[in-house]
């Protein structure tokens, strides 16, 4: 009788622990916290600055965030908080917000919701932050929305396009910021319906709230008879060959992809391998040309091939709600100046622009909240609407709508840059709301780099 009765536990534990580390490790960068150092500036009013709310002193405004600085979501996204910090450093060096310096403390949650619940409580209960700003990720941030609202902590400009942040009756403290995936789906869907009439269309999407919201928006605009295949992927399985084969077998001439950058790259490379070359239409989240071309080249290299990333991204249709990377744009000029002064080590790409723009919106909201704001003042200020600032389309913000930006332009990737095609389009998040051309004009960046109150 030589059956090993007992499990070799030591080995199992070693394997499990190793797995835990693999999950926890991966890339990282970004600092833990940052604060300005120069002296206080003046405000136009003469009322003395007081400690009007938790996290606000006569000299500082302390805000917090949870960010994936390590783990699978870190590449690319870990540039966002340093970019916001760079903008706050700029504001602090130019007088601050009503004379107060912004102290931005962001903690690493490694994109793990259990860690998020812990670090956000640390920020709120121990570090006494005034607000949680730009907390990143859908599953991560969902774990703390209930807590933040029960503690009445402003939860502003969540870094995720989930429609779930727009729930003002239940979660009055929570606000979105970026274009939500339903609106984005409608805008991309309308473009495809108009420009690819009668063509066979396939969907490729991430199997979660992100992809499903996107498909919801697409389905509102694209006639069901044109859609020949709907294929989803899970972000833990990098083999997308079965999905791509089905898209090809269904004869899809246009593939619309709601995917994160790594899976946009996998979709493109797998299609190439199968000799399949549909027109790609990719959500903003998964189409940053600089990130994408880097991923395409490194994935191909791992498989022993050499490709030119920019050649492969050529012609991809996408959308954008942030200012483009063009030297003639006033926002580009401003953001590049701040980049070179405060965050020159990081690439000047879409993630950097994102962090800059969301920090700019926060400063707008703080200025509107008043000289000695309470937490409720910030929420009320945003409920009263915000100017669009660097965004391409206006914000939806009102007491009954906590979605962020409402529109985007369609662009194509040409030589590694997104080139705008046609006007900015806006819409709402309902199934019936029309997609219309935005008639307003883009705002210019202020010369000082700081929004006027």
């Amino acid at each position: 009788m030589s059956r090993p009765h007992r499990f070799r536990l030591t080995a199992a534990v070693a394997v499990a622990t190793a797995a835990a580390f693999t999950l926890a490790a991966c890339s990282s960068s970004g600092s833990g916290s940052s604060s300005g150092t120069t002296s206080t500036g003046g405000g136009s009013s003469t009322a003395p600055l007081t400690a009007s709310a938790p996290g606000i002193t006569s000299t500082t405004i302390t805000i917090g965030s949870h960010q994936p600085l390590t783990g699978p979501a870190a590449p690319g996204y870990d540039e966002i908080a340093p970019a916001s910090t760079a903008y706050f450093d700029w504001v602090n060096a130019h007088g601050g917000v009503n004379g107060r310096k912004i102290v931005y403390k962001y903690l690493n949650d490694a994109y793990d919701p259990t860690t998020t619940t812990s670090v956000v409580r640390q920020l709120v209960l121990q570090d006494n932050v005034y607000a949680i700003f730009n907390g990143l990720g859908t599953p991560t941030h969902l774990a703390v929305v209930s807590f933040l609202n029960s503690e009445k902590v402003p939860d502003v400009f969540v870094a995720s396009g989930c429609d779930c942040w727009d729930n003002p009756t239940q979660d009055p403290e929570t606000f979105g910021w970026q274009l939500d995936y339903i609106r984005e789906g409608k805008i991309l869907g309308q473009y495809v319906a108009q420009h690819f009439k009668g063509k066979k269309i396939g969907f490729f999407y991430q199997d979660d709230e992100f992809g499903m919201d996107g498909v919801k928006g697409l389905s509102d605009e694209i006639p069901a008879s044109q859609v020949v295949a709907k294929e989803s992927y899970v972000d833990t399985n990098v083999n997308v060959a079965p999905q791509v084969a089905k898209l090809r077998a269904a004869g899809a001439q246009v593939v619309i992809s709601f995917s994160i950058p790594a899976f946009t790259a996998l979709l493109k490379l797998t299609s190439l391998k199968l000799g399949y070359n549909p027109q790609l239409v990719v959500s903003d989240v998964g189409s940053d040309p600089i990130t994408l071309s880097g991923l395409l080249e490194s994935f191909a290299k791992q498989a022993g091939a050499t490709v030119n990333g920019n050649q492969l991204t050529q012609g991809i249709i996408t959308d954008g709600y942030l200012p483009g990377l063009s030297a003639s744009d006033s926002w580009y000029v401003l953001f590049k100046k701040i980049h070179d002064q405060y965050d020159a080590k990081e690439p000047l790409d879409g993630n950097f622009f994102y962090g800059m723009a969301v920090a700019y919106t926060f400063v707008q909201a703080m200025l509107k909240a008043g000289r000695n704001p309470t937490r409720a003042d910030l929420v009320n200020a945003i409920n009263g609407g915000l100017p669009q600032g660097p965004m391409e389309a206006p914000f939806a913000f009102s007491a009954s709508d906590h979605d962020g930006v409402t529109g985007a332009y369609i662009g194509t990737i040409q030589n590694g840059v997104i080139v705008q095609q046609g006007p900015v389009l806006t819409t709402d998040a309902t199934a019936t709301g029309a997609v219309t051309t935005y008639s307003g004009t883009e705002q210019q960046a202020p010369a000082s780099g700081i929004p006027s109150p």
């Binding site: 030589s2 007992r6 833990g32 619940t117």
Partner: protein
């Protein structure tokens, strides 16, 4: 002193220490006490399963999910008091544990690990399949407040710490009694040699299933606590990483030891936060700072395993023995290290 009064005395001392700390420390530390409470409840169940009955589970996060969702649904739809929801959540998880346990009793070693791993990965996905009931990605919000009579004097996190600690201590007391009863002795017999145990008239399968049920129930209670402490249950909270961290805590603390479950949980909860605090307060360079906590956690795990191969509790016991602790008072079961290489080889070649 006989066993039960001694355990009750320990329990009261621990409760008093926690009560004192919860009043002295900040709200965030109270939250951490509550975190340790749910962690230790789950780890205690797992350490009994693995250390005493010799079965492994890489999917205990799934049982926590069952307990958490059951609690959330009962609080939300039926407005039950928490205690009632807790009891039902425990019962539901026990039933789930029985089903898994029946399968587990037939599986050995890596196959059992694989099956429970699958459970841990797959079960939370049920929430996506039935979004109307389980709220999909967003999960369910949980309302849990301080009772009206105390709401002016007790802050919410302190209340969470008290409730969590009470539940954890009661669970530990029940587990301790169970482990030294006939049932616990049967588990150890089955763990050490199932053939010998069955020759002695022990129903091996029943003992294994019983251990799984007990262990799953503890995880369900822990999930229930997690729901009221974090105010939300969502599939994202019950990942594979959670299941593995439970096992890590059990091993680090000392498999099969209930005090060990406490040491392991304290380590798992406190080391990352402490390391982050140190890293951020020393203004370390960006790419180093965010990796320090992970590295520190890893180093601590390695050091503990090197210094105390039987976990922290095993190490403490050894230290006490070295410095001449009272002989013969040792009532903890003397556990052989499970399946050391030479042991399994001997067994394999016999």
């Amino acid at each position: 002193m006989s066993t039960l009064p001694r355990r009750l005395a320990t329990l009261i001392v621990v409760a008093a220490i926690v009560a004192f700390l919860s009043i002295k420390l900040s709200a965030f530390r109270d939250y951490q006490i509550a975190e340790v409470a749910y962690e230790v409840t789950a780890v205690a169940g797992l350490t009994v399963l693995t250390g005493l009955s010799g079965q492994i589970s890489l999917g205990h996060g799934a049982f926590m999910a069952i307990g958490g969702y059951a609690t959330a649904l009962l609080l939300m739809h039926l407005n039950w008091p928490f205690v009632a929801a807790l009891v039902i959540a425990a019962a539901v998880t026990a039933a789930a544990g029985a089903v898994v346990g029946i399968a587990a009793a037939r599986l050995r070693g890596p196959y059992l690990a694989g099956a429970t791993l699958m459970l841990g990965v797959a079960l939370p996905a049920v929430a996506y399949a039935y979004p109307a009931t389980f709220g999909g990605d967003q999960g369910l919000d949980v309302t849990f407040t301080v009772p009206a009579s105390l709401s002016n004097s007790v802050p919410p996190t302190r209340w969470d710490a008290w409730v969590g600690t009470t539940v954890a201590l009661v669970t530990m007391l029940l587990l301790a009694n169970l482990c030294y009863s006939r049932i616990g002795r049967n588990w150890r017999a089955v763990r050490d040699d199932d053939v010998a145990a069955s020759l002695d008239g022990i129903n091996v399968a029943a003992a294994r299933i019983r251990a799984f049920v007990v262990s799953a129930t503890c995880a369900g209670v822990a999930g229930s606590l997690l729901a009221i402490i974090t105010l939300n249950v969502a599939p994202g909270a019950f990942t594979l990483a959670l299941s593995i961290s439970l096992l890590t805590a059990a091993v680090i603390g000392g498999l099969g030891s209930l005090p060990g479950a406490l040491w392991g949980s304290l380590l798992i909860i406190l080391v990352p936060t402490y390391a982050t605090d140190v890293a951020t307060s020393h203004g370390l360079s960006s790419s180093v700072g965010s990796n320090i906590p992970i590295a520190a956690y890893g180093v601590v795990l390695i050091l503990v395993m090197l210094a105390f191969p039987r976990g922290i509790q095993g190490g403490l016991r050894r230290l006490v023995a070295l410095f001449g602790g009272p002989p013969g008072r040792e009532r903890e079961p003397e556990r052989k290290p499970i399946a050391t290489p030479e042991h399994s080889e001997k067994e394999g070649s016999s």
